[in-house]
């Protein structure tokens, strides 16, 4: 070891003679260290990944926005106003005048209609958010129609709850793209898709200048954006290791570290010149219990497992600052979310329930566990508490794609995962936790209820009717009922709601951590 150190020291001394003094990031540039290897496309019609959604969120504008502190407060962004027709099926939008794309082109209703039609015609992963209203690639030209320079109509197949529609229009798939610019780059009728995957055609505060996969994304100020954007440049640097992110932050090489663990955050909190900022997200950590498993299909066992997680201890230690206990399928902030936490670690109770199920001796079961530190940490803690009731839980580690493939094929026993809402309406989670239209193995749709083989025709009907309930209070009551039913007998041990935490240099101001992954905003952020 001495020799190793001596050699390393020799190398380092050599380097020292060459070394410049430490660089500090420029005043008009915000540098973030983040895990951005999930970015596979930057086309808003395709983007569904956490990092990419945040980038699109800051570089494109959508028709509708919501107050980041109070999600129930909806307002127009590109849309100035809207009217609902008598029959509730048609919305007429007026587009705000005076908006300009980063290219210098003016934003009109033509761009909005083109963007929505484009998303539906391309029909990529997130398009389902819009197809929920009866649109298809074939009928969209008749259903979403421009009626003036700044006006268009939006005709649905049923009278959906207006809030449901509007929340869907806050999602990234409803971003407005620059029609002229995109069509300039159209190849073989692809509506500019190949080009837009790697380029930018939006009107948000920033323009995406460069994406180097697994390395960096560079965004530059949109000079045409009103009001003026303080930062000239925002850079995401891909840094996979959290300890490395922390070191870079301490050394002043970056302004914000995005993926830190609780211990790292604690240590950074003590340092001068660094502050911690956090915001509650919609992501839920949960266990999925496959009903094809003979033990897990017993209701008493499902209930027992809910008493065998030490929710508080995990939230206070392994996930400290990164999660809070939450046990219903609607995260705090969404309409109708149930805030009770009826379950806590209660080994005796669990043992009784297991005895009722005829499994007093316990049993052996596996859990597919992503090999990230948070999921593995939780998995190991759960393993220890399960063991107290005689349940031998074996963790099967794997990469994200690997565990997910298995989960989607219903080949797991227990799956520990995280689910984030696709938009800010309760239907997004109800549709996956409390709906399973077809429980057969070759079913087309694979909601979480299907993945855990939970056959619930009654509940599915309730969920599907909730989107037609126009009375908001009544609608909230329906979702409350759904959540309680899932809590009582569902195959989900919902444990925590995610908190996003960032550590940043003291001079970074106005960086907003929003409730969803596409609503972290830095359009007003600055450094001083």
């Amino acid at each position: 070891m001495k020799i190793v150190k001596a050699l390393l020291a020799a190398g380092a001394i050599l380097a020292l003679t060459l070394l410049p003094t430490r660089a500090v990031t420029p005043d008009d540039t915000l540098v973030m260290a983040s895990q951005i290897d999930d970015v596979i496309t930057l086309d808003p019609a395709e983007v569904f990944e956490f990092s990419a959604a945040e980038m699109v969120g800051n570089s494109y504008e959508r028709l509708i926005g919501y107050d980041l502190d109070d999600v129930s407060d909806i307002f127009g962004v590109v849309a100035e106003s809207w009217e609902v027709s008598e029959d509730g099926k048609t919305l007429t939008f007026t587009v705000r005048q005076g908006k300009t794309f980063a290219s210098g082109n003016e934003l009109t209703a033509e761009d909005v209609v083109f963007s929505l039609q484009r998303a539906l015609k391309l029909d990529l992963s997130p398009a389902f958010i819009l197809t929920q209203f009866g649109f298809t690639a074939d009928n969209v030209e008749e259903k979403i129609v421009q009626t003036g320079d700044y006006e268009f109509t939006f005709e649905m197949d049923q009278a959906y709850a207006p809030t449901f529609v509007l929340y869907c229009l806050t999602s990234t798939v409803a971003s407005v793209v620059d029609k002229d610019l995109v069509l300039e780059h159209e190849v073989d009728g692809d509506l500019g898709h190949e080009w837009l995957k790697r380029n930018h055609a939006g009107s948000g505060p920033f323009a995406i200048r460069q994406w180097r996969p697994n390395e960096a994304v560079v965004m530059e100020r949109n000079e045409h954006y009103e009001p003026e954007v303080p930062l000239a440049r925002v850079i995401y640097q891909h840094v996979p290791e959290s300890s490395t992110q922390r070191l870079m932050l301490e050394q002043g090489d970056i302004d914000i570290a995005r993926d830190l663990g609780p211990e790292e955050l604690q240590a950074l909190e003590q340092l001068d010149g660094i502050k911690i900022q956090s915001g509650v997200k919609g992501g839920l950590y949960y266990l999925g219990l496959n009903q094809k498993n003979e033990y897990l299909s017993k209701p008493e066992v499902r209930q027992a497992l809910k008493y065998l997680v030490d929710y508080d201890a995990i939230a206070d230690t392994i996930m400290e600052g990164l999660a809070e206990v939450h046990q219903s399928f609607l995260p705090t902030g969404l309409l109708g979310s149930v805030e009770d936490t009826p379950f806590s670690l209660d080994v005796e109770r669990a043992k009784e329930l297991l005895a009722e199920a005829g499994l007093a001796e316990g049993f052996s079961i596996t859990m597919d566990t992503r090999n990230t530190s948070d999921i593995t940490g939780m998995g190991e803690a759960i393993q220890q508490t399960f063991a107290q009731a005689g349940i031998d839980l074996q963790l099967i580690p794997g990469d994200g794609a690997q565990t997910l493939t298995k989960y989607r094929a219903r080949e797991h026993d227990i799956y520990i995962g995280r689910w984030g809402p696709d938009y800010q309406d309760p239907h997004t989670n109800a549709d996956t936790f409390a709906a399973n239209p077809d429980n057969s193995d070759d079913a087309a749709a694979k909601p979480l209820a299907w993945r855990n083989a939970w056959d619930i025709p009654e509940l599915t009907k309730k969920t599907q009717s909730a989107i037609l309930e126009t009375n908001t209070e009544e609608r909230a009551r329906v979702y409350e009922g759904l959540q309680r039913e899932v809590m009582d007998r569902g195959p989900f041990v919902i444990m925590f709601q995610e908190i996003e935490v960032m550590a940043m240099q003291d001079n970074v101001n106005n960086f907003i951590i929003g409730p969803s992954f596409d609503s972290n905003e830095f359009g007003e952020a600055s450094k001083d």
């Binding site: 300890s243 790292e264 201890a313 530190s373 593995t376 803690a381 220890q384 580690p397 990469d399």
Partner: protein, 308 residues
């Protein structure tokens, strides 16, 4: 090793007899001489001590461990504790005693090394000797296969196999074995080529021995020493590959105390809680160094050509 012999005067005389009266005596005699020259090499002896120590720790893990390697203490109060009288090497992020985990981890390390060797060595030996002895198209085919596996980056190949077979210690062992055999085949083939045309093989052949018999009884034993040396030198590499897989999260399943996985889970705490990742790193280092020192010494003794 032959160190278990009771070293009486007569035994030594018997072993060092210049005119052995039986084949067994000659064999033991040779082994004894090897042992004597090995024991004169202090570094090799150090290596031997480490390896024997590893084996002993693995055998007596239950007695040596002070706490359970799997079940931790109270998450709120016993997590990430520095080394102390109660936890000699501190505790990890699940409030488990690192010392006890390291002690039990020695079993996994030993198991990996032994099983990989047991799988890879015979395969390599067989392919190498058959290719070398048969020659012709069979040689070409076998050697092309060997080349293909050699041209792969070893860790990436192991990674690919683990991904295909699914993570877990057994699959990691198989994956490492798949990547470990080609060098042994190479060595065995090279040795075989030098032996193949020797007079004594010709003599055996004239006596009517079948090809499998010649390979199994006469060629393999002669190739064995150099392959064994190579395997011993490789053991450290096997440990490190296993640790690398564990580090990338594809080795042992949690909560198994595999040392590489322990480093991986400790790396996010390395700055404030240095012991979590450092202790298993030291364990890996000491054990691989032990195997390397021993292998190096063995090479000096068994393979004088390379020792120069």
């Amino acid at each position: 090793m032959t160190g278990t012999f009771e070293r009486t005067q007569t035994l030594r005389e018997w072993l060092t007899d210049n005119e052995p009266s039986s084949r067994t005596q000659a064999r033991f005699g040779r082994a004894y001489l090897s042992w004597r020259s090995l024991s004169r090499n202090p570094l090799a002896m150090l290596g031997l001590i480490v390896v024997v120590g590893l084996i002993l720790v693995a055998i007596f893990a239950d007695q040596l461990a002070t706490q359970s390697p799997f079940i931790g203490g109270d998450l709120r109060t016993e997590r990430l504790q520095p080394p102390s009288a109660e936890h000699w090497l501190g505790t990890d992020s699940q409030a488990r005693d690192i010392y006890s985990r390291l002690v039990h981890g020695s079993r996994l390390t030993l198991m990996i090394v032994v099983l990989v060797t047991v799988i890879a060595m015979p395969v390599g030996l067989l392919i190498g000797t058959v290719a070398g002895y048969a020659g012709g198209w069979l040689d070409s085919v076998l050697m092309r296969i060997t080349d293909i596996f050699l041209a792969f980056p070893r860790l990436i190949l192991a990674l690919a196999f683990v991904a295909a077979l699914g993570p877990g210690i057994e699959n990691a062992i198989i994956a490492i074995a798949i990547t470990a055999w080609p060098p042994y085949a190479r060595i065995a083939r090279a040795e075989t080529l030098t032996i193949r045309n020797s007079d004594f093989i010709a003599a055996v052949r004239l006596q009517g021995a079948s090809t499998p018999r010649i390979i199994a009884r006469h060629i393999m034993p002669l190739c064995l020493p150099s392959v064994i040396v190579r395997v011993t030198l490789d053991m450290a590499g096997i440990i490190l590959t296993a640790a690398g897989l564990g580090f990338l999260g594809l080795g042992a399943q949690p909560p198994m105390p595999e040392w590489g996985a322990m480093i991986a889970s400790g790396r996010q705490y390395i700055i404030d809680y240095w012991w979590v990742a450092t202790m298993p790193g030291i364990a890996i280092f000491v054990v691989s160094l032990g195997f390397n020192l021993l292998g190096d010494g063995l090479r000096d003794v068994l393979d004088p050509k390379a020792a120069r």
